[in-house]
């Protein structure tokens, strides 16, 4: 890939979300990208941990993903959640034991042979800037073995980005901000 062009303007710094976003940012059905009754509905859930392995009870997560066919949504209406429109985006605060739940679909591959993933953004009190990561589906092992990001990571870190499929079909993805099995967090071109 060619070199990304230089930025013309310097980006504004981020700051922590702080402790008091709870009455401002979460919204009704924010975690329901699809209704639970949708035939392809899947529960995506997990826990957010700090460097001592303690749960973080004041974190907020957002996901952004393709639909089950690999199509990128362009419809608005995420905040009103009419129950019919797939907008591909969700937002949830974790609960007071650090646990989160989204109701979504397994994203399809956006190109044939590519490993599908869900993009995740983490905000928390104490976290001075947002963090990005990816949640890969565990099933397509051949695509995972050929994924450019996963293959660039050492074996022990790669697994932090791959969700576990539970017996009932749920996807389990825990987030560790620090410490053993610290989640791999990402940076992208053109951030500064």
């Amino acid at each position: 890939m060619a070199q990304a062009p230089e930025l013309k303007l310097v980006p504004t710094p981020g700051q922590t979300i702080g402790p008091f976003y709870g009455y401002a940012l979460p919204f009704e059905k924010g975690g329901e990208l699809v209704n639970q009754a949708h035939p392809a509905a899947v529960r995506l859930h997990g826990v957010v941990y700090d460097g001592n392995g303690e749960v973080i009870p004041d974190s907020m997560l957002e996901i952004w993903q393709a639909d089950e066919h690999g199509n990128v949504a362009s419809a608005d209406g995420s905040l009103v959640r009419d129950g019919y429109t797939f907008t591909g985006w969700g937002r949830v605060p974790v609960d007071n034991v650090g646990h989160y739940t989204f109701t979504t679909v397994n994203p399809g591959p956006t190109e044939e042979g590519k490993a599908p993933f869900i993009m995740l953004t983490v905000f928390a009190r104490g976290l001075l800037n947002r963090l990005f990561t990816r949640i890969y589906l565990p099933e397509d092992t051949e695509a995972l073995a050929n994924d450019p990001l996963l293959t660039s990571l050492p074996e022990d870190r790669r697994k932090t980005l791959i969700a576990t499929r539970e017996a009932d079909g749920s996807l389990r993805f825990d987030i560790r901000l620090q410490g053993e099995d610290e989640t791999v967090f990402l940076s992208y071109p053109r951030e500064s």
Partner: protein
């Protein structure tokens, strides 16, 4: 939200805080901040790149100690979904949600202000038709949030939450009340400078950001470990609004200007590159 029992920076759970957090003096915190900044300036003199974002590992902000990754961020080239962003529109946000002073039956107490500006990307292009959300304390330094137990009055006419969709030139405008500083539990006698929280989306989801806007000349800037986690003065200045008399309106509200720059889009140049192949 339900009643929370978790550690946080509010007053109701002071007993479960990291003891280091509540016992340090302002002098100790300020010394840690100035040491970190002095070391940063030395690095820049030695040729290091200037920093533009806060450090996520900034010990004077005690809550960051266990909540930052210790490993470097892993650089990756964005793929399909990362080159797009969720869409928001007038279906999502009513036009009146940008006025925080008309959400109740009466006028909120405090200094009425207008905060207006533009959202741009790193190439200087306006970010049009995107969601922008704000939340803030009231004129007494109190949030409506249940976890905020600061003994300052709640204003029944002020919630402190606003939303808007940016205009065709990336422009936004909120009418609100100037928030006050408030105490928190990072260290003894810790006070946050007055600020408004901003949440922003770009054209690529990799541009997603949450930040805080401050007011010019705040005497608490030098003392605040969250603001000072940005080690570079020029970068810190980018979070401070400018008083703008052209936004001020006759016998109604004073005005502040604040433009926000997101990181660069990757979709445009990567698509151009694909087109050339």
């Amino acid at each position: 939200m339900s009643t929370q029992t978790a550690p946080d920076e509010s007053f109701e759970n002071a007993h479960v805080l990291d003891p280091a957090a509540s016992t340090a003096s302002q002098e100790e915190i300020s010394t840690e901040i100035s040491d970190a900044h002095a070391a940063y300036r030395q690095q820049v003199l030695a040729g290091a790149k200037e920093e533009t974002q806060p450090r996520v590992d900034f010990a004077p902000y005690r809550s960051s100690l266990l909540r930052h990754p210790t490993k470097d961020l892993h650089h990756t080239d964005p793929e399909t979904i990362e080159l797009h962003s969720p869409a928001f529109g007038q279906r999502d946000v009513h036009i009146l949600e940008s006025d925080l002073t008309i959400q109740h039956n009466g006028e909120p107490i405090g200094e009425r202000i207008v905060v207006a500006g533009r959202v741009l990307d790193g190439d200087g292009r306006p970010v049009a038709g995107q969601l922008i959300e704000i939340w803030q304390a009231n004129a007494a330094g109190r949030y409506v949030h249940k976890r905020d137990q600061h003994p300052a009055p709640i204003d029944p006419n002020f919630t402190g939450v606003g939303r808007a969709i940016t205009g065709p030139n990336g422009e936004y405008s909120f009418t609100t009340i100037k928030p006050a500083p408030y105490p928190w539990k990072n260290h003894h006698n810790a006070w946050r400078p007055a600020h408004i929280h901003f949440s922003l989306f770009g054209t690529d989801f990799t541009q997603r950001m949450i930040t805080q806007m401050y007011f010019p000349g705040d005497p608490l800037f030098a003392l605040d470990p969250i603001y000072q986690a940005i080690t570079d003065q020029k970068a810190r200045d980018r979070l401070v609004a400018t008083y703008d008399h052209s936004i001020t309106s006759h016998e109604w509200a004073t005005g502040y200007n604040w433009d926000i720059v997101l990181t660069g889009s990757n979709r445009t140049w990567m698509e151009d590159e694909e087109g050339e192949n």
